[in-house]
Amino acid sequence: MVNVQEQKVLLEVQNLKQYFSVKREKLLQPKLSVKAVDDISFTLCEGETLSIVGESGCGKSTTGRAILRLDEPTAGKVVYNGKNILDLSKKDLRTLRGELQVIFQDPFASLNPRQTIQQILSEAMSIQNSVQKELRKDRMRELMHLVGLPEEALSRHPHEFSGGQRQRIGIARALAVNPKLIICDEAVSALDVSIQAQILNLLKRLQRQLNLTFLFISHDLSVVRHISDRVMVMYLGKVVEIAPKHALFNQPTHPYTRALLSSIPVPNPKVQKERILLSGDVPSPINPPSGCRFHTRCPFATELCSSKEPETVEVQNGHHVACHYANDFFSA
């Protein structure tokens, strides 16, 4: 298990906010915004895998995109190796981008259909100048081996590959610039289960070999359980719980985490499991509930929950929960 204190912090996200303004329907209507990510903070240590889980629309992917500045965040700090990414000039950001890479969800949309694999990889290398010109050919072959594709793949176009193979190409492209941190945005969600396993194992092996750090965004809890060191649970733009994997899966504390974990299917028909069913829909992020955002669906909500936003409590070493009754739930 990873001890947070002992490791070097690679990425620190502080009070990150990402609001998207909504188009006004009437002229004098007050300006509304979708609070996709609302004031979240977390750290990521070198060499670890932190997963972000939550249902769709909770701000997982938005967080990843904001860290990479693919969308400009509204407020907050993203400190990478001591530098705030959000303060960097366009030029400095371009240079830094080589260290932060991303693997996308849709393997059919993430490769330019008009380029061959060779062009895709050599362009990545030339943008960042990560490999000398004379060595690029060798490096490309090496990358193909690294991600488990034959060398002949280099001269092909993306449409000649299957989804899993394309995902490997996407990984090769990310690796072409020798990154330190890779954000996997639902990287295996679009794949078949057997291919998912292959890609996850590939990612794990690459992490060991190249000492990579992963921010793994997923809605699939079994995938998260397989790959993570730590897990962060998000609900409606907020972090509700963040803990080392075993602590989170064995001792989920926040009522939302408990509900989420109870939805994992158990591959054993004899086990009677306790399902926590939440009522109602996720409230709109345009006008989120007051106090604790989960209080509208929380079976344990009290007066306090609807009036005051909960502080984040550390219930155990490295296990943080944003709930007024975190300590009660934890010991229970």
């Binding site: 996308f104 849709d106 008009r114 194992n201 590939l202 079994s222 359980r225």
Partner: protein, 299 residues
């Protein structure tokens, strides 16, 4: 515990199949299934052939005035007859194809160049840049094409180059709109984000990753616009604003023949037919291209 098997089946277990049929092959077979489009392509090829080899094909000098031969009906010597100054109409049409088609292609090239540039910038940067550019395009679009061209020519003065600019100018907003729409669509694809996260410059993203992927609608629109441009240019020449006599531009020839519509209709009929057939060819060719390249645009 987990539903995931821990098998690291990597490497060459997934052998690649034979190369799949290329997009180009697919396009060709699609296109040739459409008989009308093939006819259009043949017509265009024929006109391009004529324009290229006009000096070799023309039986007479198109500008040589032979008053003794004026207003002759079509005959074996003069297949399309002669005009009021005794010039051979066939030779004039052959030479005129260079002018008429030249104006059409040049005007569309001009319109497409600026339209694509504006469309890409508006679509890629969005926000106020988009609003400013597209509102300007809307203003251009609000004028009927020929009226806008008339205004531009009255400002610049008559002549072939000015006609080209005028006709090109009203193609700009059409290209800008199509390109902007396609850019918006391609921009949100993940490979654009991927290339951005690699640190590519905006110009690289726009011209190397977005433009090549939106070419189909541009080509289709370009082909259809050439037809309109030729027609507009001929119209302007007919009104005396474009090519000036004794030029053998088809619009100018039509204009010259309008006084003899009853006594010698062939003076106007043949250049008119030349225009009509070319425009028809371009249109059905453009429709065929659209169906093969960009099936979504089909109504």
């Amino acid at each position: 515990m987990t539903t995931i098997q821990k098998t690291d089946t990597l490497a060459v277990t997934q052998v690649l199949g034979a190369p799949k049929e290329s997009a180009w092959r697919n396009f060709i077979s699609q296109f040739f299934r459409n008989k009308a489009a093939v006819v259009g392509a043949i017509i265009i090829a024929f006109y391009i052939f004529i324009a290229t080899f006009a000096p070799l094909l023309a039986p007479y000098d198109p500008y040589e005035i032979q008053l003794e031969n004026k207003l002759q009906s079509p005959s074996l010597e003069h297949w399309m007859g002669t005009d009021d100054k005794g010039r051979d109409i066939l030779s004039r049409i052959l030479y005129g194809s260079r002018l008429s088609m030249g104006v059409g292609f040049a005007a569309v090239a001009f319109g497409a160049f600026f339209g694509i540039l504006f469309g890409l910038i508006a679509g890629y940067y969005g926000k106020w840049v988009d609003s400013v550019i597209m509102r300007c395009m809307d203003v251009l679009l609000a004028f009927p094409g020929i009226l806008l061209a008339l205004a531009i020519i009255s400002a610049l003065g008559p002549g072939m180059i000015n006609v080209t600019i005028a006709v090109g100018a009203f193609s700009v907003p059409l290209f800008a709109r199509i390109v902007r729409g396609s850019t918006l669509e391609v921009k949100q694809l993940e490979y654009v984000d991927a290339i951005r996260s690699l640190g590519a410059k905006d110009s690289t993203i726009i011209f190397r990753h977005i433009l090549p992927n939106i070419l189909s609608p541009i080509i289709v629109q370009g082909t259809l616009r050439i037809a309109t441009a030729i027609l507009s240019a001929a119209g302007l020449s007919f009104l005396g604003l474009g090519a000036q006599p004794p030029s053998s531009e088809w619009g100018t020839m039509l204009s010259g023949g309008r006084d003899f519509l009853f006594s010698a209709p062939y003076i106007a009929i043949f250049p008119g037919m030349a225009i009509a057939i070319l425009v028809l060819g371009l249109n059905i060719f453009g429709d065929g291209l659209r169906d093969a390249l960009d099936p979504r645009m089909k109504n």
